[in-house]
């Protein structure tokens, strides 16, 4: 079997609406912060992996190549993976298999996104994720598919908008304690329900902001990890699954690809009862209902039951199962791939007890991070433990 792999360091830039830094510079900041965190130098890194979502955001073709120097890939084996919005968490899986294979002792994982380069508005880049012949002529936007999925979810389980919006309140307020966060002020349930309707049932504050930013983590195999830190955070399980691209042939009320991914990760981690064996979760939350959707896919609650967990306060930082203590994408911001890796970094801080004001109340030995992407299609899951 593969070797044990640990996360030993993490670092990030601030998430901002428009960064002055080039993508390379953002990647450099994140990589260098992560190395500093664990006191490592670039020459101790055997390989580098990069995660970044569509090239159209940065406006650079083959952007993995373009970002390579900022990510620390000079003279090293370097690869860029992508699975749309699922990339951030997948990049850790990508790094994991580099090290678990035995071919690498250490691996630097960097995720970057500079969405602001896209003019006039980054959302328009999403037109081109749709099928060029059978869908794009209808001029779809990204809100469509989220709204279609959210409506299907609400309809199937008879859910109320205000129960879903509580997720946005929780996460946006959690983010006030995050040093990378884009959000600057507290938000109430009323703010969200009164925010402008974009694509019913999606309103402005149900959505995470577009952002520029980068995040990096350092992975190491067991013996190296123990030399670097006395608090390695182990990658206990990884999982991913990509569903059919024919998304209009699937029932959008449930993310079965997240369940597939979670089952794979739990199997590897020996988790048989996720609701009790997982102590903190960072599911993907670009929209508020997605956190709920994903909690169900991760089997942390039954189908259609996630909204009630939020209403009951179970998922608050002082709750029994804290969810998105970082503030998530809704609060910290959503530089696509970097946002997913931010979630993994949050678990790293939480499990080491280094999350400062964000530290959850309960004792946590194991957490799960998850991202989602493509045409409501991919689930990527990492189980971390100490």
């Amino acid at each position: 079997m593969g070797r044990r792999v640990a996360i030993v360091g993490a670092g990030m830039t601030r998430f901002v609406r428009r960064a002055q830094e080039t993508g390379k510079e953002l990647a450099f900041y994140a990589a260098s912060e992560a190395l500093h965190y664990c006191g490592m130098k670039l020459n101790q890194i055997d390989g580098v992996v990069l995660g970044s979502a569509p090239d159209t955001f940065d406006g650079v073709h083959m952007k993995g190549e373009y970002l390579s120097d900022g990510a620390g890939a000079w003279g090293k084996p370097y690869m860029r993976c992508y699975v749309g919005g699922g990339t951030g968490v997948f990049s850790v899986i990508h790094g994991w298999y580099h090290v678990a294979s035995g071919a690498f002792d250490t691996c630097l994982v960097v995720c970057e996104e500079k969405m602001s380069s896209f003019q006039p508005h980054p959302q328009a880049a999403f037109l081109t994720i749709f099928d060029h012949t059978t869908e794009r002529p209808l001029k779809p936007n990204l809100l469509w598919i989220f709204a279609l999925e959210m409506n299907r979810y609400m309809n199937t389980y008879g859910l109320r908008k205000e129960d879903i919006a509580r997720v946005a309140v929780k996460n946006k307020n959690n983010a006030l304690d995050h040093p990378a966060a884009q959000i600057a002020a507290p938000v109430t349930l009323d703010d969200i329900l009164k925010s402008e309707v974009l694509a019913w049932p999606v309103q402005r504050l149900d959505v995470s902001p577009v952002s520029d930013g980068a995040v990096a983590v350092v992975l190491a195999e067991e013996s190296v990890a123990r030399r670097i830190t006395d608090k390695p955070v182990w990658i206990e399980g990884v999982g991913w699954a990509l569903d059919t691209a024919y998304w209009t042939n699937r029932d959008l009320c449930y993310p079965r690809y997240v369940e597939e991914a979670a089952r794979m990760a739990y199997r590897m981690a020996g988790v048989t009862d996720p609701r009790h064996q997982i102590h903190v979760a960072e599911p993907y939350d670009p929209f508020d209902y997605k956190e709920l959707h994903h909690l169900e896919g991760l089997m942390l609650c039954g189908r259609g039951e996630a909204p009630q967990l939020t209403v009951d306060g179970v998922t608050r930082r002082d709750g029994e199962l804290p969810v998105c203590p970082s503030g998530g994408l809704l609060g910290v911001g959503n530089p696509i791939a970097a946002a997913g890796l931010m979630k993994v970094a949050e678990l790293f801080y939480q499990l080491r007890g280094e999350a400062g004001k964000r530290q959850i109340a309960r004792k946590a030995k194991r957490g799960v991070a998850q991202a989602w992407g493509d045409l409501m299609q991919v689930g990527t899951v990492v189980v971390l433990g100490v």
């Binding site: 060029h132 469509w144 709204a147 309707v197 694509a199």
Partner: protein
């Protein structure tokens, strides 16, 4: 603003405002990509488009799993084998889910919402939908489960495209 935010560690990264660009406070370059494509529709989608030109929605069937699929493909993705048969579907269906969208693809506000929907097509297996728009309907009246029918462009205007169906309207 919460004052306690200032006590958080300072991370690198420089946020700019819109006016920094407008007033030329930062140096920038622009590029308008010339990235044009002519995608081969291929066998399955080629026939789908040809069918639309004729005013017909075509599907395909896999005898192994028994599914009738739309949009068409030359393989069954679940059985991983060639499809067995082409079938003419109806141009009616059921709304599986929908949205009332007040923003265009390039993020401009609109007053009257567009109503994108996933429509399960009659004659295809349950749950087999396509994405399209709804029309001739009061947005307030749209419901999941609503029965709809395609409103076609006149034959002379059809070009073999998904937009040969203008939209679906309630039956």
């Amino acid at each position: 603003m919460k004052p306690k935010k200032e006590t958080l560690p300072l991370l690198p990264g420089t946020g700019l405002k819109d006016e920094d660009f407008k007033k030329g406070r930062v140096l920038t370059t622009r590029w308008d990509a010339d990235a044009r494509y002519g995608w081969d529709a291929g066998v399955a989608v080629g026939r789908y488009l040809a069918g639309l030109k004729e005013g017909v929605i075509l599907g395909v069937r896999c005898h192994k799993c028994g599914r009738t699929m739309v949009p068409p493909r030359i393989f069954c993705e679940w059985c991983f084998r060639n499809i067995d048969e082409w079938v003419e579907l109806k141009d009616t269906g059921t709304v599986n889910t929908f949205s009332l969208c007040y923003v265009t693809w390039d993020v401009r506000r609109i007053k009257e919402p567009q109503i994108p929907a996933v429509i399960e097509i009659d004659g295809a297996s349950p749950g087999m939908g396509i994405m399209h728009l709804l029309g001739e309907v009061d947005p307030k009246q749209v419901k999941v489960g609503m029965r709809v029918k395609a409103v076609w462009k006149p034959a002379a205007e059809r070009e073999g495209a998904i937009t040969d169906i203008r939209y679906f309207k309630p039956i």
